[in-house]
Amino acid sequence: MSNLKITNLTKRFSEVLAVDNLNLEVADGEFVTLLGPSGCGKTTILRTIAGFCNPDRGEIFFGDKIMNNIPPNKRNTAMCFQSYALFPHMSVWDNISFGLKMQKISRQGQKKKISQVMEMLGLEGLEKRKPGQLSGGQQQRVALARAIVTEPKILLFDEPLSNLDAKLRVQVRIEIRDMQKRLGITTIYVTHDQDEALAISDRIVVMERGHIEQLGDPYNIYRNPETSFVAGFIGLANIYEGTVVARDGSRYTVEAPFGKVVIVSDGRKIPEASKTVKFVWRPEDMKIYIQGAPNRVKGKILQAVFMGNITDIFIDVQGNKMRAQIDESRKLIAGDVIEFSIPEDAFSILRG
């Protein structure tokens, strides 16, 4: 167990800049998720931490120790692969014991540790099976067991749940989180699934094209996205640009294409000089208008999709499209005219 520090990491694959001067610090025992679309460099970072990939520039530290020249087999990280990468010719037991054998741990010690881990992950009774004879969920657990049994300094996950069906995915991610908390292993988790990232992480690193777009805890990433990429990549977003026409402390009045809105900016201030701002709010923030509510917008429903707990609505407000997700018992259909209000603190100001 150890903290992890990445400084000025750069990696280029022929024409593509996979990682661009990236800095990141992860505290001991922290669970950090690298989230981004495919090709954003998240897997390259993971593989660099594991030592499978040599950076063009930059350093990797585990604690105070620089790891750049340490080969993968000496780094004491444990990685869970997307494909599980179980050894197909070995039994479950041999798969899990592999790392311990490499550490030259005595047979007795191995037995104790493996039994413990197998019990923790509910793998008892599968010791003699080959990976081919296991279900996807079981294979995933064996991969997990194989990784954690070695008590690694850093645990690495490369989209470990993408081959599981939706239900199992939710179940296993809870298990992973529980186990990580119990063992307190520093963990780097790579995924492109925003729900997974929000549910599992202490902190999320949203990445795009090799650099960090935003870094923060799940709440902040979702509620206060800083860029339109982050806003659009995580959750649904209505993004508009407007001109600041008045200011009262942290309350800004913005002239947007669909009308005037009042925005309360919590953290970030709008720079004095700039007149135009980009802002975002979530579809679920839109409420059916009631007397006295702020930011009233009136529009025609283009499309209403009933989803059970909510209704997903696309509305047209003076030629501007926006999306709302409301909990409304009334049946809404296209063509209805409807009035919404948007709470003043629902907005986030974006930088660029």
């Binding site: 080969p71 087999n73 990280t77 050894f87 197909p88 010719h89 070995m90 490499m102």
Partner: protein
């Protein structure tokens, strides 16, 4: 009314389906019979010829020999070099397989797992012994061998057979090496395996099926190798193919040839049934399907 209509239609549909199924079944049975005859009759004929009683010859218009005896078998073993040829064939083959395995292993590893320039070229070079017409290689290689004093020697024959079996060995093992997912190797390394452990615990066990298939192909190639043996080995060393060739030459003795032919193919066919499950995974196709 509507009900009866639909039942009538349904039953008509069922009859048609059954007819179609019966037709396919017949077609399949016909096909199977043709296939079995295609392979079975030639072999059956050889078996019968090898059992012909010399005192009671088999000739037109008899469809079957009038009587059977083992006299031909005894004759072949008593009066020809078949025993020595068998010994030669079955001692050269395992040595050739072993040598070709040892030589092919590192090459296959590089071709299968490393990104190297000119890989296509090397893969083609490796096929040369199959691509090059056997007699040309045999004749002119014999001059090279003579120059090195390898002609008419046992070691020379082992080298020649190794050469001929290497394309199969290298291609099949290269395919096996390629088939190992990089993730699995990374996982091993991630868990602390060094190069030696990776080779011992990951690579070798995982290429084992391909390795066995390659060895079996190499073995059969060696057993049936004719051109090089004929030019480099005979008359000092006879193998089963060269002795069969001599029986089929000027003085064609069908009964003797039958015995030798059966001796030559029986072990191979037994091997085929043993290795069937390796062949099913189509190593040969996967490794030779592209040039």
């Amino acid at each position: 009314m509507a009900l009866t209509d639909s039942t009538a239609e349904t039953s008509l549909y069922l009859i048609q389906a059954r007819k179609k199924r019966n037709f396919y079944l017949l077609l399949m049975i016909f096909f199977m019979i043709v296939l079995i005859l295609w392979v079975g009759i030639p072999i059956l004929m050889a078996v019968m010829w090898s059992l012909v009683d010399p005192k009671n010859p088999w000739s037109y218009p008899n469809l079957f020999p009038p009587s059977f005896s083992l006299a031909q078998w005894k004759y072949v073993f008593d009066y020809t070099n078949i025993g020595r040829a068998l010994r030669n064939s079955y001692s050269i083959a395992p040595l050739a397989v072993l040598l070709s395995f040892v030589l092919s292993l590192p090459t296959s590893y590089v071709l299968g797992r490393k990104k190297i320039p000119g890989k296509k070229f090397f893969m083609l070079v490796v096929l040369l012994p199959i691509i090059m017409p056997g007699m040309v290689v045999a004749l002119f290689l014999s001059r090279v061998f003579t120059a090195f004093g390898l002609s008419q020697t046992f070691f020379g024959l082992v080298l020649a057979h190794t050469l001929m079996s290497m394309p199969y060995m290298i291609r099949v093992m290269t395919t096996s090496f390629q088939a190992i997912p990089q993730d699995v190797i990374d996982a091993a390394e991630n868990l602390g395996a060094n190069t030696f452990v990776k080779i011992r615990d990951i690579f070798l066990p995982m290429i084992r099926p391909g390795l066995l298939a390659g060895m079996i192909f190499a073995f059969t190639v060696s057993i049936e190798e004719f051109n090089l043996t004929f030019i480099i080995g005979t008359p000092t060393f006879e193998t089963i193919p060269t002795i069969l060739f001599s029986f089929m030459g000027y003085n064609f003795i069908r009964t003797n040839a039958s015995v030798v032919a059966l001796l030559m193919m029986t072990p191979n066919i037994i091997m085929l049934f043993i290795v069937e499950r390796f062949l099913k995974s189509d190593y040969l196709a996967a490794s030779l399907g592209k040039m």
